[in-house]
Subunit: 154 residues, 2 copies
């Protein structure tokens, strides 16, 4: 799905807009790899097994959208590294939601699967929960969109 | 990105596997619409502005992956409705993560944007937070994957 074709970037729905701005599945996997510390074109390329022209286009879009930025190589070489901006780092919650959903539903019983654990002391992570600001748990049907206009009129 | 081409469904990474099983951006928007109560082919088609053959293929994949199921039409007509399974409903956390990220980063100042609010009393929703089971907050770089094998060996 190309942003150009769908115009997702201009969509009034924040979900569609986010998807349009991120790019595609590959973009999310690049972000996942960047979160795990990969920085160099060749590292992404090797880990994702992605054609160079496709990786190059995805990285360019991520930079263009302010999700990643290019910085001088950490090792002082002439290469440029790709690192996440704050905007890009915040996508870790999308990655975590996909990861937890996959863990719960997408592995066969007995199949070896990775778990997310805390990096500090290997503590297990709690499932993400959607809550109201007062702390009440919100289920799959428990929320609705509201426009700023409607909000202001309340 | 076709699952067939990438083999994401068999990937050992739960993120990649989730993406492969979901399908593509359109699939997530179909799930978003289903969460908001849409059930009929024509409703999805109209709301997404998606070509019928593409919508048909996406719905078939969602059913095939156990994310949606077909049920007799709620109005007693001969149509079949598409509803989310429990597995599908749980994707609301992915949708919510995308929504909150979009709200925070993808709208211009002053641009009208929708907010997610609680359906019961219009209370604002708190940003999703990744936490350890003991409740410690986990940031973008605060987690790591661990295989079951490594876990068992601890």
């Amino acid at each position: 799905v190309k942003g150009k074709r769908t115009g997702f970037e201009e969509n009034s729905c924040a979900v569609a807009r986010s998807l349009g701005i991120i790019g595609d599945w590959w973009s999310l996997l690049i972000i996942r790899d960047a979160l795990s510390g990969k920085r160099r074109f060749s590292e992404f390329q090797k880990h994702l097994g992605l054609a160079k022209n496709i990786l190059s286009a995805r990285l360019a879009k991520l930079v263009d959208q302010g999700i990643m930025k290019q910085v001088p190589a950490a090792d002082g070489s002439a290469y440029r590294d790709y690192v996440l901006t704050e905007k890009g780092e915040k996508l870790y919650l999308v990655i975590a939601a996909l990861w937890q959903w996959g863990e719960e539903f997408c592995f066969s019983p007995g199949e070896a699967k990775p778990f997310i654990v805390d990096a500090v002391n290997d503590e297990a992570l709690a499932p993400l929960e959607l809550r109201t600001t007062s702390g009440r748990s919100v289920g799959p049907r428990g929320y609705k969109p509201m426009t700023e206009k409607a909000k202001a009129g309340m």
